[in-house]
Amino acid sequence: MTRVLRYGQPFLILLILAFVLPSEAHAAKISELVEVDLGDQFFRFFSLQDAAIRHILLGCLFMGINFGLLGSFVVVRRMALVGDTLSHAVLPGVAIGFLFTMSKEPWAIMLGATLAGLLGAATVSWIQRSTKLKQDAALGMVLASFFAVGICLIKMIERIPSVNKSGLDHFFYGQAAALGRSDLWMMGGTAVLSTVIVILLYRPLLATSFDQVFARSIGLPERLLFHLLMFLLALATVVALQAVGALMVSAMLITPATTAFLLTKRMHLMLILATGLAIAAGMLGAFLSFVGEGLVSHALPTGPSMALSAGGFFLLVFLFSPHHGMVFRYRRRLSQTRQITVENTLKAIYRTMESDKFQEEGISVRRLAGDARETFEETMKRLRLLVRDGLATFATTRGEVIYLTPDGLQHASRVVRNHRLWELYLTNEADYDADHVHADAEKVEHILGEDQVMELERYLDYPEQDPHGKRIPSLRDTQRLPLRDLAVKEKEVDS
């Protein structure tokens, strides 16, 4: 009984509190009324039944085209900061467009923003031309001051009475949820314009981006093309403001193009890849933002999700791309290191066998360890690599003895041959002293190719002995031969 009371007490207190606390509302926000789970959201996204999702995917398509095409040119021209500046510089234009019409007329805001963006770009080049400032300083100044003017104007508008100006702040962060038909028309129009211009003027744009001075020298309107690019960039930025916001536009412009740059070395492929990546990043961002609602109560904001997706793609490529990827580079280095260990071990076994005049097939592991000044375990570890590669076997009956397989012997002969030929080449042709060549040959033996070795041999007139008087395994040795043949040859050298 007492126990029940003791445990009952907190409930009692809760009950009392429930009466004292404010009563439950009979109004709610929609996310509390309609519960969603991950699966629902997932299928819903792909069913495309909602206009909201169709709008945002279409928006991603159009924005992706703009960002991919223009971003590629921005990246190869090394003016990534220009995109950033432009996206900040459009803000005062948004405000001025509003002030002109005293409403959020899309055309007025778009016009104002585009003009402000271009004005920002013009200010940058004007500062650069008339002062000795570098571009980064000019960009930084314009970015900050235009942005500041934009914020001041928007704050000022907020104090103007009686007009519905709410939502101007969405141009900072974007509001993908409110994406509508008119936004899509503007985005689509800009995407078509960008595509047509990039396709029609691909070559002049390429030439002026690569080598401005040369392009001007052959009479291409370099300045005009540059301004055209800036104009398209301003348009693309402005139409994307509503969806992703000024602060994320530059991420969407630069990241996919940079990722594409890592993946290809041809401009037209870069344009296509960057476009694909930008579209994919946008859609993935929208997807994550939408489906994430089923996981956490507060949705991931759409614009930043898109930028993060683009960043994720970059990271993947940076890590895993076949040529530049960090992981592949690391694995390549790792496998090279392993290969060198294997070959050095083979060589050590060969040498030991050689010192026995190839009379013994098996070599004691202890002896190898002693020669290499290693512990028994260290040597065993190296030998196990050979066994795993099928180059050697352990004798189980006598224990601790290693046998080279025919493959192993062949491989060992090849490494020794490379080593000794290179030593000979260095002493004969490069005037190295015989005691200076070993270290160099240690490195070169692993990287000499078949062709190079044969050329080396021809060049050295098919030598039989290295500078230290050791026999150089012949080409036939490296192509499988029974051990006793080596023993016979060894005797010939000795005699």
């Binding site: 390429l206 030439a207 690569f210 080598d211 001075v213 001007r216 009479g219 070395k265 041809r266 401009m267």
Partner: protein, 267 residues
């Protein structure tokens, strides 16, 4: 002051009282030259003498503040298709995602205009140009994998693809290997034998005597112009490269930007 070449009816390039300025500060004063076709002309002078400025002005990339330039007797800007320009190699980004072939094809763009695509003929011309500089095996390679000498050859091939009559080259021998240097000079001599005219900004005095037919010696103004044996004289070279600053350069100094008129003689 300048030694004129023998008067010829056929003058490929003529400048008169050419004065060029950067930011309103003159860097070339009153240059008079007239060059007959079929010559290999070296433009020499110390750093900041205005060598690159001169060829950029001829190309119409810089606006002269005085004087005029005529190419084939016409204003320079109307003759762009007959002039090929090879900028300094380090002026471009060699990580740019294009292949060697792409770059050489750019030599055809001046003929193609804004919208036309290069056709088979353009490709053939580009291939031929690549062959002349021994770069055929590299045609499909991305330009970032090229050595300095190979980069210079690509630029040269691009200029060849322009099929021009007058070639202007800005320091083509800087930072290239000996093999490339001899390839380039062989090629320039071949061009000359076809009656083309080549102006080369050069800064190596010892090789200049071997390479060129005539020299333009500059130091803010024209020191001398004429056949190599006439210009390559101690007194003239001393005047171009000599340690003392001329009055002109002192004026230039006073108006600012000393780095551009660093006249300390440099071999």
């Amino acid at each position: 002051m300048s030694d004129q070449t023998s008067p010829s009816q056929e003058i490929i390039l003529e400048t008169h009282d050419l004065t060029v300025a950067y930011d309103k500060k003159p860097v070339l004063y009153g240059i008079d030259v007239s060059i007959a076709p079929g010559q290999l002309v070296g433009i020499m002078g110390p750093n900041g003498a205005g060598k690159s400025t001169l060829i950029k002005a001829i190309m119409g990339l810089l606006e002269p503040i005085g004087g005029w330039i005529k190419i084939f007797g016409e204003p320079n800007k109307s003759q762009r298709k007959r002039v090929a320009y090879v900028p300094q190699r380090r002026e471009v980004d060699w990580d740019f995602p294009v292949t060697v072939m792409d770059v050489v094809l750019m030599g055809r763009y001046g003929h193609l205009g804004l919208f036309k695509r290069p056709g088979k003929r353009d490709r053939d011309i580009a291939m031929e140009a690549l062959e002349k500089v021994n770069m055929i095996p590299y045609a499909g390679r991305q330009i970032s994998n090229l050595s300095g000498g190979q980069q210079q050859r690509v630029f040269l091939a691009r200029a060849l693809a322009q099929e021009s009559d007058l070639y202007l080259m800005d320091e083509p021998f800087v930072g290239v290997d000996a093999a490339t240097e001899s390839t380039i000079i062989d090629l320039l001599q071949e061009l000359r034998s076809q009656g083309k005219t080549i102006l080369v900004v050069h800064h190596d005095l010892p090789t200049a005597r071997r390479y060129f037919d005539s020299l333009i010696l500059l130091n803010l103004r024209l020191i001398a112009y004429g056949p190599v044996e006439e210009v390559f004289k101690e007194e003239l070279l001393q005047r171009a490269y000599g340690g003392r600053l001329t009055i002109l350069s002192e004026v230039a100094d006073a108006t600012g930007e000393k780095s551009k008129v660093d006249l300390s003689a440099k071999r």
